[in-house]
Amino acid sequence: MGFSGWRVIKEGLTGNRGWKPQWRDAAPKKDYDVLIIGGGGHGLATAYYLAKEHGITNVAVLEKGHLGSGNIGRNTTLVRSNYMMPGNSEFYSHSLKLWEGLSQELNYNVMHSPRGQIVLNHSDAQRDGAVRRGNAMINRGDEAELLTRDDVRRMVPYLNFDSARFPIYGGLLQRRAGTARHDAVAWGYARAADERGVDLVQNCEVTGIDMKNGKVTGVQTTRGVIRAPKIAVVVAGRSSQVAAMAGMRLPIESHVLQAFVTEGLKPCIDHVISFGMGHFYISQSDKGGLVFGGNLDFYASYASRGNLPMKEHVMEAAMTLMPMIGKAKVLRSWGGIMDMTPDGSPIIDRTLIDGLYLNCGWCYGGFKAVPASGYGFAHLLATDQHHATASKFRLDRFRSGRGLMDEEATGSQHNLH
């Protein structure tokens, strides 16, 4: 029986004894049609769409820890489609549309909240950039509004308009942007995929990829050998290690991104706000904590934790932008492993190894991409054709220079995106 208000009431009246497991703790079979290495947001979404859109259910998701234990469980939950470069633009637009019906699709409340995002600008040059981006979004069929300083002041009066080091000139607003509950996305996709017959195999670390004559045949894992003709690698920051099992090097450098949450507070920030002159963006979760973050620590890392300099920079940006949160207290800080690419945009592609497919390079922006990434990757796995909305995320674009999607315009140094 599905989830609904009636169900909650019914179970509540009968001692809450009727709740069943939301997914099977599956043991791996000997073989499958498709193996998905990585049980995070993108991997679980891929499994779901393989089953739902393509009827492919003889699939196993192999997760080395527990489901959703990677970046899906520790991001700042932003959902938006304000990307400009061809390739990214249509992809994130598609993703946002998928977000908008996702709770209903999965019958799991992912708490998608289109509260609006304002990206502030602080100079004429930044404002011109906002105009270019806003027009790109509108031309894509999404929405964008250029806000004057007074517009921003009306919407977000608590920002520092009078004495800030970098005055606010205005902002770019996307009303349909917002937040969602990160864990719920993983769990919702997991439950829905499991319901359709996908095996979710936890505590199963892939230790080797078996190949024969340039074609994959299966994987070695801590829970035995599993055979499959199609293997999908979707492990974010660990992509280089898994690719190395197939003898591949990737254009990836893994970096730490820190994020923060404060103690729960009564509602005070209704939008997602992004600062234009420092690394800082913030929103408030439904539990009341202010969730915010900044940029990478900038050094390659697998430690999933960062150091004080970037922490402090983020707090400093908060204080110059919205000093009223000064007395909010940071409750917890954490870090993840970001798979950075030379243009800051992702890879969803086949590889030169027959049957080996790759989905990685989401840098620090993977959460909003979960639905369209799963959708597009499933399409590629099922049909061996790129989906129209995910057709430009090619692995070989760096070598040829064709179709680079450098949103930040910073070039091929991985950590500058």
Binding site: R249, E253, S254, Y299, A300, P309, R399, S412, Q413
Partner: protein, 90 residues
């Protein structure tokens, strides 16, 4: 996090700028070929473990430094002037 600049001594991480893998020292020439340049600019070993990368003491003496460190533990094993590393390789 603290890094020992060979010239200035142990300094806080915030004084440094990070570029990336120390393979940047080994620049292919114009006739290096497409693959060599793709490797140089984009492809990385990206190890979970010991690595050598390039840091610039931007808020200090402006030395470029090759740092040998562990990307999992953040332990710093060695720091050397990049110019010295490059010279000994030439």
């Amino acid at each position: 996090m603290r890094i020992t600049c060979p010239i200035c001594g142990e300094r806080d991480r915030r004084e440094f700028y990070y570029k990336g893998d120390a393979l940047a020292l080994n620049r292919p020439g114009t006739d290096g070929g497409e693959k060599a340049w793709d490797d140089y600019l984009h492809m990385r070993d990206n190890p979970a473990g010991e690595t050598r990368d390039l840091w610039f003491h931007e808020a200090g003496c402006s030395a470029w430094i090759v740092v040998t460190r562990n990307t999992v533990t953040h332990e710093i094993l060695a720091t050397e002037l990049a110019s010295k590393v490059k010279e000994s390789a030439i």
